[in-house]
Symmetry: C2
Subunit: 187 residues, 2 copies
Amino acid sequence: MPPAPLDDDRLTALGLFLEAHDGLQRRLEPQLAEHGLPPGEFEALLRLARTPGGRLRMSDLASQLRLSTSGASRLVDRLEQRGQAERVACPTDRRGAFAAVTAAGRRDVEAALVEHLELVNRWFCAVLDPEELSALTAALRKVRDVVHPGAAAGAVPDPPPEGGTDPAASPGRSRPSGPGQGRVRGR
Amino acid sequence: MPPAPLDDDRLTALGLFLEAHDGLQRRLEPQLAEHGLPPGEFEALLRLARTPGGRLRMSDLASQLRLSTSGASRLVDRLEQRGQAERVACPTDRRGAFAAVTAAGRRDVEAALVEHLELVNRWFCAVLDPEELSALTAALRKVRDVVHPGAAAGAVPDPPPEGGTDPAASPGRSRPSGPGQGRVRGR
DNA sequence: CCCAACAACTTGCGTGCGCAACTATTCCGC
DNA sequence: GCGGAATAGTTGCGCACGCAAGTTGTTGGG
């Protein structure tokens, strides 16, 4: 018997995913760089800027950025040095801190955003016709929901991995909305 | 007027892509780690193992792995230390080198592969029903072809970026097949 | 009231990567 | 064939990240 399917279809599909992801990143990066924004910093500012108070708990930011808490900590260090964000002490929990966009930070993301959206369009959305795009996002959402439960709205930390794991188990639950929830484990 | 659309649909679509990619990586990594294979090493061995001679020029490997040539160089260093690959001098071009899988390397990928495929299935393919999956791969292929021309078969290095770039410009051409072609610039 | 378990960050350390510089070779025009 | 330009690969350097350990603060049971 053939020892192993070195070119299984599933590998091809996965490879396509990885290549598209990587290529996309490479197309988008340079434009952000023109505005002096590394991609991580850009996404961080974006996430902060579109949050009601313009601020997010460090842990939540980490989770949204798919970074470890230490990664987020240092990212916010950099943003702070650049004057694009600042740390704000949490009044109700003195261990905690918020990262908050500054006016300058908001200005900088917005400045980069218009052009960024054009590129996202050029290299991603406009490459597909409308039905294809919606099929793609629907599929991506399904995958995302399975591999990263808790990224969408109501969040529950991953249960510890079982033996015969069923990815479809325990569909979304609501969360108490109290702060300090919906984290994903630090990777 | 609203200064900038901080939650444009296109950003959502892109975010979905990034989250799905990241989540997938996290699901697949641990299993490879159990076999002592970091994801980069795994993909490298896989690419080498499924190449006719079990070997690839350093530059081609770099390009397939979406790494800079220095990144590939050091990756092969690591594989060599582990005894999973070795460098072979190129007989016709004394500057050049091949990376070649060793028997041990081949054994190791194959050992990890079966389980790996199961996971790819569980977290990616089987999450979607067949039509969804083929729609997804078709869309991914379109995006990949645009953002990373030269990844598919006949490869031509990216032309230097123009001003008003049209992604659909210059569709695939054939290449002379002589060695030392189809590279992507070193990033 | 107190202490132990826990939680939110931060920091020390090691690692992998890209860029730029460097070496060795090949290619090409004259 | 000679000399400069281009090419294949390696190496110095800096940087961002994750893990693990450390710090400070909170919580809940006795």
